[in-house]
């Protein structure tokens, strides 16, 4: 199994054309780590559905202090990558030394000078980033098999989510063992009859 098939279904009474945001948190980093809006579902009207996949692999890329971005390289848990200077310039390559933990992906700055930014993607969308890594420093990425989902206005994919936004998002879906599932949103609605948005899993398959 290379990916998990998810299908968002809007069964809410929402009349505000709300955006649905999905993100993960990098558990390898300590306090203060900011999350990034990985997927934002927009204009998904009542009874519409929005299928998407959650690949098990990642892609990583780095950017250097000159504003150059490396190609995205496919990454799996336990792999490490290093930014080095070769005859062509700064390049990102798989490191012969794996990550410290088999559950983590590392991006190391092995340049002699200049900071880099390390970005990690899933399904081509930015999932997390670590900025201003000085030479000899590394970014460590680890994600538990769980996603956070909630209703947020005015957010775009790739946006950094501050703690105020994150605190509004209260639903966590375990992806452990899943091969496919429907994520059904209910609630919402106008006026006094409005109820909080709720999420449910249906048609769940391991």
């Amino acid at each position: 199994m290379n990916s998990i098939k998810l299908n968002f279904i809007n069964k809410s009474q929402d009349e505000n054309n709300s955006n649905i945001v999905i993100f993960q948190q990098n558990v390898a980093e300590s306090f203060g780590e900011l999350a990034i809006a990985w997927k934002v579902i927009k204009n998904c009207g009542r009874l519409d559905n929005h299928p998407f996949v959650y690949p098990l692999q990642f892609e990583v890329c780095a950017s250097d202090s000159y504003g150059n971005y490396t190609p995205q390289l496919t990454a799996y848990d336990g792999q490490a990558f290093e930014m080095v200077k070769d005859h062509s310039g700064d390049v990102l390559m798989v490191s012969p030394t794996p990550a410290t933990s088999p559950n983590e992906v590392e991006v190391r700055n092995n340049l002699t000078k200049g900071a880099i930014n390390a970005n990690i993607y899933k399904d081509g969308k930015l999932l997390a980033a670590k900025t201003n890594l000085a030479p000899a420093q590394k970014a460590v990425f680890e994600f538990h098999p769980r996603i956070y989902i909630g209703v947020v206005s005015q957010i775009e994919e790739g946006d950094v989510m501050n703690s105020a936004i994150i605190s509004q998002i209260n639903t966590e879906i375990s992806l452990y063992g899943l091969s496919s599932a429907d994520i059904v949103m209910t609630g919402g609605g106008p006026g006094k009859t409005s109820s909080p948005f709720q999420f449910h899993l249906e048609n769940i398959n391991a």
């Binding site: 639903t171 063992g177 391991a206």
Partner: protein, 138 residues
């Protein structure tokens, strides 16, 4: 005659390796212990819920025998114990509210949850652990 296998443990997403200094002291922990018959076929699981929201030592409630046939089963409150004068009753401090079920799938017997817990009624959904349908013997 029945036999049990090793305990599996799941932690909520807000779990910290060490407790905080004030509520919420920590998240929740769920442990599952499968039981097998004499032919090593899965029978049931004991499921234990530990809530550290208001109690740094954790408040525990148990479902002693959860079977696939039961479907969604309510998570029980912990047994009542008289509080000390300075503490709230333990049942008021137990914040886990929801249901669990065992789902038989070709790849195993999965424990599924839909529950809320904590000060902000954090919600958790999905499979959290898998038991072998047939106990592996050494």
């Amino acid at each position: 005659m029945t036999n049990v296998a090793s305990i599996k443990t799941w932690y909520s997403g807000n779990w910290k390796s060490s407790n905080r200094k004030k509520p919420p002291y920590n998240g929740i922990k769920i442990q599952g212990t499968p039981t097998y018959d004499q032919d090593n076929k899965f029978l049931s699981a004991k499921v234990s819920f530990f809530d550290y929201t208001y109690d740094p030592d954790g408040l525990q409630s148990d479902i002693d025998e959860l079977t696939p046939e039961q479907g969604w089963t309510a998570i029980p409150m912990p047994p009542y114990s008289p509080p000390s004068p300075s503490d709230p009753p333990n049942q008021e401090s137990f914040t886990i509210n929801g249901h669990v079920e065992l789902v038989s799938q070709p790849s195993g017997m999965y424990l599924r949850i839909r529950l809320h817990f904590g000060i902000m009624a954090h919600e958790e959904l999905g499979f959290i652990m898998k038991f072998d349908q047939t106990k592996k013997t050494p």
